[in-house]
Amino acid sequence: MGHEPIRSLELRGITKRFPGILACDHIDLSVGEYSVRALVGENGAGKTTLMNILMGLYQPDEGHILINGKEVRFRSPNDAFDHGIGMVHQHFMLVQNMTVVENVALGMKSAHLPFRLDLASVRKKIVEVSERHELPVNPDAMVWQLSVGEQQRVELVKTLCLGARFLILDEPTSALTPQETDELIALLSKMSGELSIVFISHKLHEVKALSDTVSILRRGRIVFEGRTENHSPSELAALMTGHEVELPRVDSTGLDRSGDRGLLSIRDLRVRGDRGNLALDGVTLEIAPGEIIGLAGVSGNGQRELAEALNGLRRPESGSINLDGVELAGSSASRIIAEGMGYIPEDRNTEGIVPSFSVRENLVLKDIGQRDWSRGGFLRLGAIAANAAGLRERFDIRCPSTDTAAGSLSGGNIQKVILARELARGPKALVAVYPTRGLDMGAEEFIHKQLLARRAEGVAILLISEELEEIMNLSDRVAVIYKGKILKVVPGRDATKRSLGLLMAGVSDE
């Protein structure tokens, strides 16, 4: 750390272009000592790009960075580290088949002795940092064995071990459970007494709770800057999206479905998890046409296995899955798709899209064999392009062109591509897993409206989420899953945060 501590950091006129897109457009941003600056903005607004420039990962096309009033040039992250800047990236930067110590050691140059890797000193440092900040991590665990929340903790510990005194956190909470989020926010506000922090999030209550100042980015430009305490979350949301954001609510008053048969009915489903354990232990759910059932639960209680079993990606041990009179338990994914099941998977990049395929190809991926998109073994490129143009318009997918590789879009826009495909297919039932994770407020509102519109059309929807707000806003009925069993099903209008929270922790009143 050959440099004096950062008392002020300033970005001036930063501009960055990618093919077909102006990701950052003359951005000015400054961060003072011991303060938290929140950076918010729609998906694809350029937040990650800007921070990658600050880390020396991307080179700006124009503009410069000033530290304590002096201009600096960062050619690689090493230059940023030298000034004590560290970043927790939106996508984990952890090597899965290495241990936690090894991952930290990778960046700790002091452990790189000429002929030996000094893991002992790295381990000591990890223990020290994790005790000081109450961030428990097991240094010897392999990263792939850790849950998402634990990996997030490792990322933070790693960044602190590397001596960061200026922390950039790019959506650190988007994969955390509500409890983990609260803990992280508490920790960060404690740490803000000795560090400077740039905090990126789509959740405005977190921004309110943590930050001193807030900057709003829209389409690569700073559109607003101010002190957080002077603005309400809904004000910020409006500034962010350019319009009032109002999350819609389901209206299930007066509906009586007791006589309806389920359109999607799941009976006594048993499914094994990756480790051979019984991840679903006799789950029974009936979803009527035009009904949204919210499945609440702390992640890891069988949600993933349920979604996979419903979509033919995991073979059930026993039980039945019936969609509109057709038995689907144990059928192949392609048969289930053909029978009209829609799926918004949890992991967008590996399950939802083929990242190297273009947006328009991804939009027809599930029905590529059908007459609409191919004839006699040839693709109907015109129809495919027209379809993409229409969906891009309807779902507000922000991309340079529908010919762009889907993997190069921002996270929220990838989610919109999946949603557009699944909804445009006109499914009978839809399984939506964390459909708004990582999305901005505007996109969240949009997706909620879409789900309600499908409900009105008679689609049976299973909504899996950890956001109680989302579940309570959208569900006709809420089912709580705990350790692979449905603990209770309550009408949506009777559900409260408190009652659901207790159930999610496994406390049922019987």
Binding site: Y58, M93, Q96, M98, L106, F115, R116, L117, A405, G407
Partner: protein
């Protein structure tokens, strides 16, 4: 010939057979751990075999004849390193598809070695080669001494390199970088590790090892050069890295298994055992395929970004 000496013969033959595969395989392990597979290994081995052969051939009878073998080995490693770096230029800097580039390098090495050989040397000529160096005392142990301690020095060196490569890969900072760069280059990059530089270094080392493997063939195993001397061993070495799950010990076991099968095959022919000769020749290759197909696919061991170029500003 009785059964006991038949087996003993196979062992005595098989161990030195495995050395060329082992040397090239260890180098290729480093390549692949860094995320690059070098199918050009075969071509580098041909060049290594050729240049190593030159000093003993041309210096015979001069005052330098005594150190000709050493000069040959050094030359082979230098040429191997240069070819490794050339490959790095093509696949790391220019991001050419690795499979095609590797096949190109294979044909280049093979072609140059063959052409130069015909032009400057001509017909088949032997060299004295590297003499055996029995280890005092140990080589006198019955059976074991003959199998393990009665070979030329390169055999011992190759097997001693197994723990050395293990140490490099798992206990040194460079090894850590190599593994990170082959599995998740973006993460390594985010920590300030220069992905391209590490891949260049890995390919240079891999090239040197392939060159040495070639030199072993011409100086220690065949004691001559011919343009089909390498005969697919470079490709087998690449396959053995998968077989050995990217671990030096696994690669060693694979090299031994293949070579013992090879020795068995030869012994069957030499002993005149009534067994169709075509099948005998196929045996080692079939064995490798069968074992490759049968070993359990353990997730999370190998370099997951194998074969993919890295570009910091490219998202996909």
């Amino acid at each position: 010939m009785n059964g006991g000496s038949f087996v003993l013969n196979i062992l005595i033959l098989g161990v030195p057979f495995s050395v060329a595969l082992l040397l090239a395989g260890l180098g290729e392990t480093i390549n692949q751990r860094a995320g690059v597979f070098n199918l050009g290994c075969e071509g580098i081995m041909a060049m290594g075999a050729f240049v190593a052969f030159l000093p003993p051939y041309f210096l015979a009878g001069t005052s330098l004849a005594g150190s000709a073998n050493l000069i040959g080995l050094a030359l082979a490693m230098v040429v191997g390193t240069v070819l490794g770096l050339l490959f790095a230029l093509v696949v790391v800097t220019f991001r050419a598809p690795q499979g095609i580039a590797g096949i190109g390098l294979q044909m280049l090495g093979w072609g140059i070695a063959g052409t130069l050989f015909r032009h400057y040397v001509g017909g088949v000529t032997g060299v004295p080669g590297i003499a055996p160096m029995p280890i005092p005392v140990l080589s006198k142990i019955p059976v074991l001494g003959q199998v393990l301690f009665n070979h030329n020095p390169l055999v011992y060196i190759a097997f001693l390199l197994v723990p050395v490569f293990w140490y490099i890969l798992f206990k040194t900072p460079w090894g850590l970088k190599v593994r990170a760069v082959g599995t998740y280059p973006r993460a390594a990059d985010s920590l300030g590790i220069r992905v391209a530089r590490v891949r260049y270094q890995a390919l240079a080392l891999g090239g040197a090892m392939a060159g040495l493997a070639g030199a072993y063939l011409s100086l220690a195993q065949a004691k001559m050069f011919a343009d089909d001397l390498v005969a697919g061993r470079g490709f087998i070495a690449v396959a053995l890295v998968y077989f050995g799950r990217w671990h030096p010990v696994g690669v060693m076991l694979g090299a031994l298994l293949f070579s013992l099968a090879q020795a068995l095959q030869l012994s069957i022919q030499v002993a005149g055992i009534d067994f169709p000769y075509e099948f005998a020749v196929m045996l080692p290759y079939v064995l490798v395929i069968v074992v490759l197909a049968l070993v359990r696919k353990a997730r999370m061991v190998g370099p997951t970004e194998l074969g993919k170029p890295f570009d910091r500003e490219q998202r996909v």
